[in-house]
């Protein structure tokens, strides 16, 4: 029926098109979608959409450190990357290399503690942290995602490389 056609008059005197079959189907879809709403909330609690939750952060264990990075983030949202250096009696300094692809996705808003020095290399930047007590320590990078979509980048802690990936929701 076109929107300009007159609806038929029903037996009860109402002149309206009820489309009851459509409405019944829609009520079913409506209830099904409430289930989807619940699943979305559950997934969000697990961190499937970033901003906290077990799925949002990935932990990679390397020889020299444990790296926690945002596996799932949000565009313009804040996140953290944590490098927990292990104690090593033979090392008084640690280095952290971040590839250029990392800088293309994440803006580093702050580093705690600040690196002793920074080097620019062809493939990225290297940060050096003094650790005279040789007892390890934690470096936290406060990040803000600047690009949406999947991202792959390399991180090197001391001499060990690891390829990491993140997905940034728009």
């Amino acid at each position: 029926m076109s929107s300009l056609e007159k609806p038929a008059v029903r037996e009860d005197g109402l002149q309206l098109e009820e489309h009851r079959r459509f409405q019944e189907r829609f009520w079913t879809i409506e209830r099904f979608s409430w289930g989807i709403f619940a699943l979305i909330i559950f997934a969000a609690l697990l961190g499937a959409f970033g901003s906290g939750g077990p799925l949002a952060t990935k932990v990679s264990e390397l020889d020299a450190a444990i790296v926690e990075h945002p596996r799932i983030g949000r565009w313009e949202g804040t996140d953290e990357m944590t490098i927990r250096f292990k104690s090593d009696p033979a090392t008084e300094a640690h280095s952290l290399f971040l590839s250029n692809a990392f800088a293309e996705v994440f803006q580093v808003e702050d580093i705690q503690p600040l690196p002793a020095r920074t080097l620019i290399e062809g493939g990225g930047q290297q940060l050096f942290f003094d650790n005279p007590s040789k007892s390890g320590g934690v470096v936290t990078l406060h990040l803000r995602a600047q690009a949406a979509g999947p991202a792959k980048f390399d991180v090197r802690v001391d001499d060990e490389f690891v390829s990491l990936s993140s997905f940034i929701f728009p």
Binding site: S2, S3, D12, L14, L16, E18, F26, W27, W34, E76
Partner: protein
């Protein structure tokens, strides 16, 4: 480009969420629904504007939202079946004085809701004074009294 995508995405998400949450949410507004609406308005405002508070961004968003609304009204006219999906259809809750309890349950409307509307809008005292009650596509309840 970003303003257009943001505007269109938020418009579609809101349209889907409001439609799928059921008509009760739209018209049968309780104080909690009002709070919900205010929070949604605040949330969408941030998602629409982001960090860009420029006049041109606001103007662009307004144009995008109005254009989408005009476009959808034409789509609904050309394809009434799509219009039913977007706007919904009226549901007869009481026909010839007989309540359709299945429709009441599925539409999450109580007899009390109908009696309240009947009192407020028609000055009716009892259910048997109602000939027809229709849950309109916009979520409003229409009451037609029995002829005396």
């Amino acid at each position: 480009m970003e303003s257009v995508i943001r505007g269109a995405a938020i418009y579609l998400v809101l349209l889907m969420a409001l439609r799928l949450s059921g008509r009760r949410t739209v018209a049968q507004m309780t104080p909690f629904d009002l709070v919900l609406l205010l929070i949604i308005a605040e949330t969408t405002q941030q998602a629409l504007l982001g960090d860009d508070f420029s006049l041109i961004n606001a103007a662009l968003l307004i144009v995008v939202l109005f254009s989408l609304d005009i476009g959808l009204s034409y789509v609904k006219q050309w394809a009434p079946s799509l219009g039913r999906i977007i706007d919904g259809t009226p549901t007869v809750l009481i026909s010839d004085g007989k309540p359709d309890l299945r429709a009441f349950a599925r539409a999450r409307i109580s007899l009390e809701d109908v009696l309240t509307t009947a009192r407020v809008e028609q000055g009716l005292e009892r259910l048997d004074q109602i000939k027809s009650a229709v849950l309109e596509a916009d979520g409003a309840l229409s009451i037609i009294p029995q002829e005396t």
